[in-house]
Symmetry: C2
Subunit: 376 residues, 2 copies
Amino acid sequence: MADLPKTGLQLRSLLKGSGELELSLADVPTPQPAADEVLVRVEASPINPSDLGLLLGPADLSTLKAGGGKVTAKVPERFLPAQAARLDQPLPVGNEGAGVVIAAGADPAAQALMGRTVAVLGGAMYAQHRIAKAADVLPMHPGVTAREGASCFVNPLTALGMVGAMRREGHTALVHTAAASNLGQMLVKICLADGVPLVNIVRSDAQAKILRDIGATHVVDSSTPDFQQALTEALAETGATIAFDAIGGGRLASQILGGMEASLVRKATGGFSRYGSTTHKQVYIYGGLDTGPTELVRSYGMAWGLGGWLLTYFIQQIGPAEAQKLRQRVADEIKTTFASHYTAEISLSEALRPEVIAAYNKKSTGEKYLINPAKG
Amino acid sequence: MADLPKTGLQLRSLLKGSGELELSLADVPTPQPAADEVLVRVEASPINPSDLGLLLGPADLSTLKAGGGKVTAKVPERFLPAQAARLDQPLPVGNEGAGVVIAAGADPAAQALMGRTVAVLGGAMYAQHRIAKAADVLPMHPGVTAREGASCFVNPLTALGMVGAMRREGHTALVHTAAASNLGQMLVKICLADGVPLVNIVRSDAQAKILRDIGATHVVDSSTPDFQQALTEALAETGATIAFDAIGGGRLASQILGGMEASLVRKATGGFSRYGSTTHKQVYIYGGLDTGPTELVRSYGMAWGLGGWLLTYFIQQIGPAEAQKLRQRVADEIKTTFASHYTAEISLSEALRPEVIAAYNKKSTGEKYLINPAKG
């Protein structure tokens, strides 16, 4: 391992008690893998919405200022109490990525990975080097590049997790919002392959077209005046009683619950119940594209639930064996079902430029940035 | 059974397709009990908030008009679609009540109830006579009056159900809102007896006093400026991570989830997680004192849930044997833990007077009306 670089860059996010957020690149010593570990030269790591929370925190991006190899922004004081646990600690960022194994511990399982392109989950991927347990990395099939394998976990497992949660909780069809996203497109492909009816909610005609072009049957546009009616129709046709919502704020979750109830009441054959349909209707909020309050107009009886949904909790529920099956499916279908598209590939230093931050923070549907730490 | 009255009055609520709500008293033939049934002369039936939905529907009470032995009111047209299933059917009303068994079928179990005061659940209690399965009625201990036994089910079983749901879902302490209600006072007594920490949320100092006087330890007043802070303190002291909310509308549910999260984050020893505490926080809405939208300011990570909660669904979950234990506890403690207090006792005809309707529809905490159909 004499040829390994002695150090490598690592992006860090520091939120100071004073209310200043500082992003910087630290030059850290290259770690040596233990017997059961490998050292990965990271070549591709996406900026997911779930990365932005740690990277930028609740910073006011209109105050972004670059200088001295760093970029800073102010965090309004009212947001600081909720951030108490991270104050004054420089935190590495980057949930997932892929790269090439350039050093390996003595264990055969680690040695077997030398030179392989692998995908890694677990933070600190916005860095040139990353140590990982050999057992934790997901080896790519030959011919798969780091760029192609960069997004093996967050979106693919979340999409598979939604279908899994749907089944575990006894539903037979599901609803997805912000459905034209990378994740949403994966979900369309999974549901087509598995024969699961899916209601896609999008916010524009262009997004609807993207989904129809890849075979989506039920696409409802929330920007149209007859949205609630079209949604109720789609819910009645599919029988969907569980939804995964990436928006979070506003009335969309409530409209979905209302539509489910209306479609259930319409089918009901029993007498009138003032508690509404007895079929449980569930919406899980898994994202926060709209960070404003969620507003529930409670008109769907008593058999309903709303809650947060996090992939990590789902993986814990299903256990390691089931989780490994999902991971392997991702590796097997990374060029098809789970293919990701990127708007731009940037270096670590570019990720600290105010105008680039403004761009990748927009979270526009279909736009996604990829960091390539090998570019410096 | 020759001495039985041939007919008896029954209150009915009819919502016409035209948008007119009509309450009337029907004179119905006295039913004859089958072998396994008893005939109860109803002497006491409370007007619970859960009865008002069926009784008055979404009627505009400013349009109440009495005449011809009936009372009518207009239902605004926008509310009619949700009421489709009940339109143009005269529906009997009254979830629960108590009275004396005046006729019984041939089965020994039915015969054994002759002359006994029994409590009955299941609708149509705003009537002079009610048929019930002998196995379904709850016999009162000697010396318990119909008035004392009138509210054996809705409030007592709901309060017991809350503690049961808390245990089933793995929590060790709970929160209750509108806590000075009849139900809330029962819950205080149950929690004291069972050693379950309880956080009571009330809306005035007078209500706080009511609860402190019966031994409540944690009472928080949502009308005070330091409510959120006091609530978080109480949540930290009790470790409550489940709440039952009778209000429904506004931000109270969200404040409770926020307080739970703040108290959990404070105790957390691990590192910072941008997904918040991993402990599941749950609020169940079981009432709708505020029918306005529920507003969630999502600042409690991803491990949270909100949903409707209905006693019926809980009873189905626990099964008949467990449910019978709860019923027997109610019968055993009907003069103590489960004692109800009534503002006024009215006849069936009085229940149709506009000024009386306005009074019992107010749903003020601590105010409750009792219908005594034996009064006519």
